[in-house]
Amino acid sequence: MAEETLSVRSLTGVEMTLPIAGPGTRCYGFLTDWMIRLLGALIWLLIASLLRLAPGIQGRSAAHTVWVGGIVLALVTYFLYQPAAEILTKGRTPGLRTAEARIVTLEGTTPGIGALVIRNVFRLIDCLPVFYVVGLVTCMLTPRRVRLGDIVAGTVMVRTDAGAGPALDRLGVQARRTRLPVEALALVHDLLERWSTLEETRRIELARSLLTELDAEFAARGTGLDGAALRVRLEELLGGEQRV
């Protein structure tokens, strides 16, 4: 049975959860990183090709040296990109940032260099026989959605939540401005946060239902407002504009 979240204990003893990234997020992050390193390797080869044609590079031996240098740099970029990027970004490679994920330890902390090296070394087994089949199967079968390298290194891939801070900021502002009861405030806030992800009919229905309960003027006048107007009305209830 797969676990949806990773429970960790904060330094103050309060428990909290981190959402675990599934195979889809992992693949998305890995493929983005793979494209970056492939591009990096190709750029080295392109530079080496152009340098071979440069007027300063004369003779077969010099051109050969330049080409060999280009190949070595391309190979180094291709093979060392992943561990180097993970170590330098502390588990948040550009690919993982794009996929909104990051690598953490089982305690939810930023992993150290040793753990990141170990999880990369075990790609040797995870990539077998082709296209990371072992890693993908392990990832699908383990409760925390981890590949073999993660099991050995004690790491987990979790989804990052860049929207949490701004959401807290907005909620703080709304709580100070509005006269709504706290439970109602939370409901309206939640609806506005999820506004763009909900279907048009569904969000209109939810907005009408909330406004009927919370806004006496709206309840008395009827329900002739469209989606945009309902959203404005909800924002007014919160005492200002909802910044998303």
């Binding site: 904060s10 103050t12 902390t109 090296v117 170990i118 087994i125 939540d161 701004p166 703080g172 706290v182």
Partner: protein
């Protein structure tokens, strides 16, 4: 009771809402920062403590609510940002090379000796096999290599004539690092993967030595491998021993679970991988630049090979550390003596 609780929640939220804007800003800044001043670090820790406290309170007042969820999400993000391993300072690097690597090597010393014995035994078996059934050489050598040796040329010098030493070194290092990493990783299969890699390497070495000996090139091959072989083969045994130790941690767990035992052992042995990579870098450079050089004599090769090997043994056995510690304690005592 419910109404009272709701009013408590409302009062609490209105009292603390003004703090959240600053806490959210601190949380976002901490997640993006790679380094912080003391002031920034203290502010982040304060934000972390306050957010955790608020989360605990909100869970009591409004369990399962949106505010609980948002506070939990913010707090979890900050938790990862706050809990980072310390930066690798010069002292930490020094400790890694002086203490951690020798300690990791010492923990697999017996296994390394067993695997070295396996390497020697399989090399002898390979020698016997190819000496008795020469046609089996096609199992361990490519047709090009066989043809070259049959015509009186070692493949090692053919490689040199094609690739420049730097390129050759890079290829050798890459190949050796892959073998070592494979020996380490496949050790997780209850040690069988590491045994296979060591036995196969031993069989190949013995077989190739027998084959070249039959064609009068045995000494040439020995001469070629003398400068880099000691360290290269020792590192393979060391990595395989580390891999076997990983496998052992799964078979005979020392912790509550096998996964925990495996994680602990991997963390202990990780410094050894760094040592193996560095040693292979050295032996790869020797193999690329010194081993194929025809002008270097047998005695010089032997001296280089044994010297490098002795240096490796001194480092991994912790002897270098003891000397450094003695030198340091001597320096520390000096001012006291003067007084």
């Amino acid at each position: 009771m419910a109404a009272n609780s709701e009013s408590d929640a409302a009062i609490w939220v209105r009292e603390h809402a003004s703090e959240w804007q600053a806490l959210a800003a601190d949380s976002a800044a901490a997640a993006q920062r790679s380094e912080a001043t003391v002031e920034e670090a203290l502010r982040t820790l304060r934000a972390y403590r306050i957010l955790a406290r608020h989360l605990a309170t909100v869970r009591e007042l409004m369990p399962g609510g949106v505010l609980t969820e948002i506070l939990e999400r913010t707090c979890a993000q900050l938790h990862t940002a706050v809990n980072r391993p310390p930066r690798l300072t010069r002292a930490r690097w020094a400790r890694l090379f002086r203490d951690d690597i020798p300690a990791a090597a010492a923990s697999v010393r017996v296994l390394t000796l067993w695997l070295a014995a396996l390497l020697v035994a399989s090399a002898m078996a390979g020698w016997w096999l190819i000496n008795t059934y020469p046609q089996l050489i096609s199992l361990i050598a490519s047709p090009k290599m066989i043809e070259g040796v049959e015509h009186g040329h070692l493949w090692t010098y053919q490689i040199l004539s094609i690739a420049p030493p730097a390129m050759l070194s890079a290829r050798i290092i890459e190949n050796n690092v892959m073998v070592v990493l494979a020996a380490f990783c496949f050790g997780i299969l209850f040690g069988l993967g590491a045994f296979y890699i060591v036995a196969f390497n031993g069989l190949s070495i013995g077989g190739l030595l027998a084959f070249t000996h039959r064609h009068g090139l045995g000494l040439e091959l020995l001469k070629f491998t003398l400068a880099h072989g000691f360290v290269e083969l020792s590192v393979i045994c060391l990595a395989a021993a580390a891999g076997t130790a990983l496998g052992e941690s799964v078979i005979r767990p020392q912790c509550a679970t096998r996964a925990e035992s495996l994680r602990r052992r991997a963390a202990e042995l990780a410094p050894l991988l760094l040592a193996c990579a560095l040693l292979l870098l050295g032996s790869g450079l020797i193999e690329g630049f010194i081993s194929p050089h025809p002008a270097i004599t047998l005695a010089a090769r032997l001296a280089i090979g044994l010297g490098y090997w002795a240096l490796m043994l001194l480092w991994l056995s912790g002897r270098l550390r003891i000397r450094a510690t003695r030198a340091r304690s001597a320096r520390m005592k000096l001012p006291l003596l003067r007084r």
